[in-house]
Amino acid sequence: MTTLALEGIDLTRRYGGFAALDKVSLRLEPGEIRGLIGPNGAGKSTLMDALCGRGGPTGGTVVFNGRDISGLSAQARRRAGLARSFQKTNIFPALMVREQVALAARMAETDNTDEVLVALGLLDLADRRAADISYGDQRRLDLALALVGRPSVLLLDEPAAGLSINESIVLARLLKDLASSWNVTVLLVEHDMEVIFAVSDRITVLNLGRVLAEGTREEIRGNPEVVRAYLGSSIE
């Protein structure tokens, strides 16, 4: 068996008596795109936090390319090749778009700033202050900060939120591209089911801090529990 790109074992996080994450385990193969869905407050963002070393103390182990990184700081994890984007836009408001993407690139082996700017359609905004671009554009900038420098594993928290339909389609295609051409592994949280179903190799469903189901898109779509707790009736 090849080494896993990323593995979380028994990840747990509590806020007071409430378990936002309760012994969740997750195994990502290299080059895989894994969809992560679940109701609001299921613990998806918390799971990403646990994987990348954000927030309070977490129980469990994170293994990255065969190496236990549980004790590493967030910046060390990023330098090892584990990057993430944020659900709540997290950018450098006073810096130019290009400036900040280039800054993020400096930390990694390859500088693909321009490639990323072009791919995300940000080139025209490259010399604008990040504070002065629209919300959707800021969302894409946040994504660019994660993509640049060719990390080997990407944790993307609702990258399509706030994007117009066309942009979402471009994004979905881009993710597919990335996975196949760079062999990037992606853990993708999304509430936009079109994107999820279009790109995910497998899907994990979280509910109340635990894994509810895991499987291919067909299996997930057909799982009545998932439909009841999350998908609802309107997904065709």
Binding site: Y15, G38, P39, N40, G41, A42, K44, S45, T46, Q87, K88, T89, D132, I133, S134, Y135, G136, D137, R140, D157, E158, A161, G162, L163, S164, I165, N166, E167, S168, H191, D192, M193, A229, Y230, L231, G232, S233, S234, I235
Partner: protein, 231 residues
């Protein structure tokens, strides 16, 4: 009566002109959508109504009353509540307090803490946790709940479906339609066509800060709408 009317509005951030002669209106009990790609100026329309973006030409009227100058609280006092893009939950306040803040204008109506919590039960469950400690989607519910607390005559929602699970979006759609039936007009800015299709009666399409198209949703299929609007 029209609740909100923009007449040839030019909107600016500092010296940058963003809106070019935008005109649109929302009547009583109407459900209207604004569509458009990222960065065309949808949020700027809202911000112009809130006095965040500056109006240098044209006119904005609430409930038939022309407004100048527009202060940040003008819209709220004219019965217009906004669910802002990015949620803007006030840090340091609990869920309950964030909701109470929404009732600052003191209009009475069917929405109060209890009824909002019936719509989004999680808010009751977590009433005393800090608002910003909630998950992204829960915060979105809180933002919507807070706007409802004002019992507005017009509810403006800037991409409310963002971050919400599909089941919740379903409920939201139903709620919005119901609201309009109860005399609250809706101005919906959305990328989620399924929501627009279910909620809106009319739509405006914005491109590069100008209204380039408008029409009625009723009678169109979802596919038609997508094709027609072609954003």
């Amino acid at each position: 009566m029209t609740l909100l009317r923009l007449q040839s509005v030019d909107g600016y951030y500092g010296g940058a002109r963003i809106l070019h002669g935008v005109s649109l209106e929302v009547g009583a009990g109407e459900r209207v959508a604004i569509l458009g790609r990222n960065g065309v100026g949808k949020t700027t329309v809202v911000n112009a109504c809130l006095g965040i973006a500056r109006v240098r030409a044209g006119q904005i009227a609430f409930q038939g009353q022309a407004q100048a100058p527009i202060r940040h609280f003008t819209a709220a006092r004219a019965g217009i509540a906004v669910v802002p893009q990015g949620r803007r939950i006030v840090p340091g306040l609990t869920v309950r307090e964030n909701l109470a803040l929404g009732a600052a204008v003191g209009r009475s109506g069917k929405w109060n803490f209890e009824s909002v919590c019936d719509l989004f039960p999680i808010l009751r469950e977590r009433a005393d946790t800090p608002g910003t400690a909630m998950s992204g989607g829960q915060q979105q519910m809180l933002a919507i709940g807070r706007a409802l607390m004002a019992n507005p005559a017009l509810l403006i929602l800037d991409e409310p479906s963002e971050g919400l699970a599909p089941v919740i979006v379903d409920e939201l759609a139903a709620t919005l339609v119901r609201l309009a039936g109860e005399d609250t007009s809706i101005l919906l800015i959305e990328q989620n066509f399924s929501l627009v299709h279910r909620v809106a009666q009319r739509y405006y399409v914005l491109s590069k800060g100008a209204v380039v198209d408008q029409g009625t949703v009723e009678g169109m299929s979802m596919a038609d709408l997508k094709k027609h609007v072609a954003v």
